[in-house]
């Protein structure tokens, strides 16, 4: 029989066990296979870790579920980091998991493939959902870490190629707990804000775990839901992320994304110079060809025909005038001659000329007397000679 002093209550021994165990295993790594996986409505996850010879209960509190890089399932081999905890009401011990990782990269790869297949089956990667990237964006949204290499890379490429841009940065954590949620929220914020033409989302290279946020479903769905075209730019060239598949355009690196999103400034200056040159040349050509046409018209036969006609008419008028004046002077001459002849004949017919030849005209009371019978004795008459009149009296 043990001494009275050594008799403990259940609670007391449990407390001692709890103290002893929890102090001995505050931070341990356990490797095992998941079984009895249960996600409680409260959000906490309960499961058992086992191997061939033993098993241990495990809990993953809701606050840490967000840190999971993958979707744990029964049968999956994992490494759990955490502390041993004793649960006095049931007298059980368990591991209070802080971090859960698939065992080896193979498991992460499996998780990746599983999500990829799921989203692919849902059509999230379909070409028909891809939005065209604007050719000349002026407002570029970037979702990445404010302190990361990706932002610096993008910044330097944009500064060199096409600096007349507005870059809107939504700073997020790109790895670790909560990164995926922040990226997804930033994607939605960019869309609500609206005044960006294209979004670049990404980060510099890293391990598969580092890049994991870009393999999360929540990020994939946020990219898919974006009304603004999204370019993914995750890690180095060889790494493909789920974000890459769902994005409208995949850039192998952040620098490449910047190269793709804007054209080179000097190239654009050339294009515009070319346009000006073409416009100028075109208008010059048109003006000079029109000028030629006008000159051809002026020189053309038809255009000059009216002038010719005019000239001909003028000439004709001149000719007519000349012949008219010729005719006129001829007529005038003729008239003059005829006039002289007539005058001559008239003169020869004049009675004065007859009088000169010795004839006389007898008048009685102003009337010419052409017969002797008209005169009687005692009549007074006037006899006209060529050089004067004589008054006479008829005697018989």
């Amino acid at each position: 029989m043990p001494s009275e002093k050594q008799i403990l209550t259940v609670s007391e021994i449990t407390r001692q066990i709890k103290f002893s165990l929890e102090q001995s295993f505050p931070r341990i790594w356990i490797q095992g296979e998941i079984s009895n996986f249960k996600r409680h409505t409260s959000g906490h996850i309960y499961f058992t870790l086992k191997d061939e010879g033993a098993q241990i209960s495990a809990t993953l509190w809701r606050s840490r579920v967000a840190n999971l890089l993958f979707d744990p399932q029964d049968g999956m081999k994992v490494i759990a980091r955490g502390a041993i905890a004793v649960y006095p009401p049931r007298g059980t011990y368990q591991i209070d998991v802080e971090q859960l990782q698939p065992l080896g990269v193979g498991e992460l790869q499996l998780a990746f493939e599983r999500l990829k297949k799921k989203l692919s089956d849902e059509g999230l990667f379909d070409e028909e959902h891809k939005k065209p990237i604007p050719e000349y964006p002026e407002h570029i949204g970037i979702i990445t870490s404010e302190t990361g290499a990706a932002l610096q890379d993008i910044r330097s490429v944009l500064s060199r190629r096409f600096p007349s841009l507005e870059v809107i940065l939504a700073p997020v954590r790109v790895q670790g707990a909560g990164a995926a949620e922040e990226i997804a929220a930033a994607m939605s914020d960019m869309n609500t804000y609206g005044d960006v033409d294209v979004i670049i989302v990404g980060r510099g290279g890293g391990s598969l775990e580092d890049l994991w946020a870009f393999n999360e479903e929540i990020v994939a769905r946020a990219i898919y839901d974006s009304k603004i075209p999204v370019i993914s730019a995750v890690g180095h060239e060889i790494d493909f992320s789920i974000a890459d598949f769902v994005a409208d355009l995949r850039a192998p690196t952040p620098s490449a994304a910047a190269e793709m999103v804007v054209r080179d400034r000097s190239e654009l200056i050339d294009i515009i110079a070319n346009i000006c040159y073409t416009m100028q040349g075109n208008v010059d050509d048109r003006i000079s060809s029109l000028r030629d046409r006008i000159q051809n018209l002026i020189a053309s036969y038809s255009f000059n025909r009216p002038k010719d006609l005019l000239r001909e008419s003028v000439q004709r008028i001149d000719e007519l005038e000349r012949s008219l004046s010729r005719i006129f002077s001829h007529v005038f001459q003729l008239t003059n001659q005829r006039y002289a002849t007539i005058q001559h004949s008239l003169e020869s017919l004049s009675p004065k000329k007859v009088l000169k030849r010795g004839y006389t005209i007898v008048r009685k009371d102003g009337r010419v007397i052409a017969s002797a019978k008209v005169l009687h004795e005692g009549d007074r008459a006037t006899v006209q000679f060529h050089d004067g009149d004589v008054k006479t009296k008829v005697e018989e």
Binding site: P134, E135, Y136, P137, E138, G141, E146, T147, L151, Q152, R155, L158, S159, F162, P163, S164, L165, E166, V167, I168, L169, A170, P171, A186, D189, M190, T192, Y193, G194, D195, K227, R265, L268, I269, I271, I272, I275, C276, T278, M279, Q280, N282, V283, R286, I287, L290
Partner: protein, 79 residues
């Protein structure tokens, strides 16, 4: 969705318009006075585009939400 803030034409619009102008001019079917108008418009647009290309400093703004959920743009500290 918020509206675009760009006061003038966007670079893309200007460039597309320029290309359209060149195309109409090249076709040669527009009357001369119209062609001259197109040309004048084109030169103005080209000048506008040229001005934009002259900018050498990249502007980076940080998008944040205030406590009321309103978006704010602040200068980025990232240098």
């Amino acid at each position: 969705m918020s509206s675009k803030k760009s006061p003038k034409h966007s670079f893309e619009d200007s460039l597309k318009r320029l290309e359209a102008i060149v195309e109409s001019l090249e076709q040669g079917s527009v009357p001369l006075d119209e062609a001259v108008e197109l040309y004048e418009e084109g030169i103005l647009l080209a000048k506008e585009c040229g001005e934009k290309l002259k900018t050498t400093e990249l502007k980076i703004k940080k998008l944040t939400k205030d406590i009321n959920g309103q978006f704010q743009l602040t200068d980025s500290d990232a240098e």
